[in-house]
């Protein structure tokens, strides 16, 4: 019983982090119908920023949160203006290979700079501390990370659904051409979607770095998890991404407890089954 409660809580906590990771992917897909294979690599950039700040500057890794978000925003903007804007006109194959190239480039750039060694953050206010609530004992870093992710998700949600900028963004995602006629600068909206996508995922990365190992190749796994979440929640749906994130988090933690070698295999299988049998996703329209 105790164990089950703990596993479920961990599942939900991981799910909240996953939801923030998937948010950017869903947003980018919704606004311009392009899949970003480099999404997990943006996450990896966030993780390395946290690692650098904690190991070389000897500051608390929590300080890296705003820096990572900023860096992610700029990275997303740069990628859009330098690459994505160019490949949007091309055929779908070219789009796929374009973002795939970006993914490989970032991954091996990290490999070159940081070597393939596995790193982790060892010091920090919330690293390795335990939080005891009644009879369950939880990892403090996971609780704080999940909390920050929940708040950030809420902020982005508020921005998209309650502000004028968000309305322009939504208009672009519904019909880009019509939005243009209404005087919305769709190119700017596209760039903004990439910026927000990069910022949220890099922020999630700097949080994840508190309790997850860091390698240059860590991105692919999270890209696929994000794909699974976005597919499950319905492509382009923000609410769907949130709920699907929690579902995937639960699946990963529970199946990982049963057969630890296959915990990611289950996620791939869920993705496969969802896109095949319900391509709209659970909450898609």
């Amino acid at each position: 019983m105790e164990l089950t409660t703990q596993l479920i809580i961990y599942g939900v906590l991981m799910g909240l982090v996953f939801a923030l990771i998937a948010l950017g992917l869903s947003l980018i897909f919704g606004v311009m119908n392009i899949v970003n294979f480099a999404h997990g690599e943006f996450l990896m950039v966030g993780m390395y920023i946290a690692f650098l700040i904690s190991t070389y500057l000897h500051l608390d890794p929590l300080i890296s949160l705003p820096i990572a978000a900023m860096a992610g925003y700029l990275l997303g903007m740069f990628s859009y203006h330098l690459l994505i804007h160019q490949i949007l006109r091309g055929p779908m194959v070219a789009q796929l290979f374009g973002t795939f190239g970006l993914m490989l480039f970032l991954r091996y750039l990290a490999m070159y700079i940081f070597t393939p060694d596995v790193r982790s953050i060892k010091t920090g206010i919330i690293v390795g501390k335990a939080l005891t609530l009644g009879w369950v004992s939880l990892d403090l870093s996971k609780v704080i990370s999940a909390g920050v992710c929940l708040i950030s998700f809420g902020l982005v949600y508020w921005m998209i659904y309650r502000t004028k900028l968000g309305r322009a963004l939504r208009a672009t995602s519904i019909d880009s051409e019509a939005a243009q006629y209404m005087g919305i600068d769709t190119k700017k909206m596209n760039a903004l979607a990439w910026g927000i996508g990069g910022a949220t995922v890099a922020l999630a990365g700097s949080l994840l770095a508190h309790f997850y190992y860091i390698t240059p190749t860590v991105g692919m796994l999270f890209t696929l998890i994000a794909f699974a979440i976005v597919a499950l929640g319905g492509f382009g749906s923000i609410t769907g991404a949130f709920l699907a994130g929690i579902i995937i988090g639960l699946i990963m933690v529970l199946s990982g407890h049963l057969v630890s070698e296959l915990k990611f295999t289950f996620i791939y299988i869920v993705y496969f089954l969802v896109v095949v049998f319900r391509p709209r996703g659970l909450f898609g329209w």
Partner: protein
């Protein structure tokens, strides 16, 4: 029957400069072991032919069919494991394991293609990627496949054709060239066949293809199935050439990407594209990798790769062959 043979062996419909180029290419490959004596040079050549073979197979679904498959490595793995395990367990001769591996890969491709082709574009590409990853993780997880330790092929004391084990790389050179020619001739038949034209029609416009009576779904499934079988052939070769296989070596995502990329760089959907792509990327990969590896600069070769990939995607989606075609058209006027 006669028409079939003509379709397989005839390149008459191609322009003359292509036929001359192809002839020169064949002569160079045939004479290669006499010209180049260094073991490394020969290894590069064998790897080039292997990836040209992979590219030819992938070109069927990715180039002619227009469906981006990012999971070809799983078929390579099926071929490699079929050969490796059957040789290890029962000592089955190589030439029997090849068709079995191809049938297994084709059957698996058929099985997953059936639900997967309800998807299009990006969704399909991600689904192929997921299927390949699931297979790789299962091959690591299972005990009967040797798990992460892989399969080691027992070395025979004497060179023989039954198990395709030879002392010198020259034999392997002609051996892979033979397999390569089989696939090339198959593709030569395919591009002129009814199925080939159906695939291209589906690639160019699915709705129009459906309106002239092509069963789009069926065409895609068949193309994907054949591609699976073709990929397994190269996998079988990898087993007898390297004599050791494990999931990280024959089924990784990087392999799927490299296969797709050689075709993209060379020119997807053209007869010679995969060969050109492999001729550019494989020597670059091996020499650059060796040179940078010696200087402890891991990763730069892949960064160069990635940069090529992004430039091709943004500037020249038709690859090197697209550039050649454009130049020719300009000259003709």
């Amino acid at each position: 029957m006669r028409q079939l043979l003509i379709d397989i062996f005839s390149f008459e419909d191609r322009p003359r400069f292509e036929r001359i180029g192809f002839l020169i290419f064949i002569i160079i490959v045939l004479l290669f072991p006499w010209i180049v004596k260094s073991a490394y040079g020969r290894a590069v050549m064998i790897k080039f032919l292997l990836f040209a073979l992979f590219g030819l197979g992938w070109n069927l679904i990715g180039g002619y069919g227009g469906q981006v498959d990012l999971g070809q490595a799983k078929n390579v793995g099926f071929g490699a494991y079929a050969t490796g395990l059957m040789m290890l367990w029962w000592g089955v001769p190589f030439w029997i394991t090849v068709p079995i591996g191809m049938v297994i890969a084709a059957a698996e491709s058929f099985g997953v293609a059936y639900p997967m082709f309800r998807l299009k574009g990006h969704y399909f590409a991600i689904a192929t990627l997921c299927v390949a990853l699931v297979w790789k993780e299962l091959f690591v997880f299972w005990d009967w496949t040797g798990g992460a330790r892989g399969v080691e092929i027992p070395i025979r004391p004497t060179p023989n054709f039954t198990y395709m084990q030879f002392g010198s790389p020259v034999h392997y050179h002609y051996f892979i060239f033979f397999l390569f020619l089989i696939q090339l001739l198959f593709m030569n038949w395919f591009r002129k066949s009814k199925l080939g034209y159906e695939c291209q029609a589906v690639r160019d416009n699915e709705d129009v293809a459906a309106s002239i009576g092509i069963n789009v779904y069926r065409t895609k499934v068949i193309a994907y199935t054949i591609t699976g079988g073709l990929g397994a052939m190269g996998g079988s070769f990898m087993t007898v050439y390297y004599l050791y296989i494990d999931p990280d070596f024959v089924m990784p995502l990087d392999l799927s990407i490299l296969i797709a990329m050689t075709v993209m760089v060379g020119g997807a959907g053209s007869m010679w594209g995969p060969i050109i792509g492999a001729a550019l990327l494989i020597p670059l990969d091996m020499y650059l990798g060796a040179w940078l590896g010696a200087q402890k600069r891991l990763g730069i070769d892949f960064m160069i790769y990635a940069a090529i990939m992004m430039v091709i995607a943004a500037r020249e989606p038709k690859g090197v062959w697209g550039i050649i075609e454009r130049m020719r058209r300009k000259r003709i006027g």
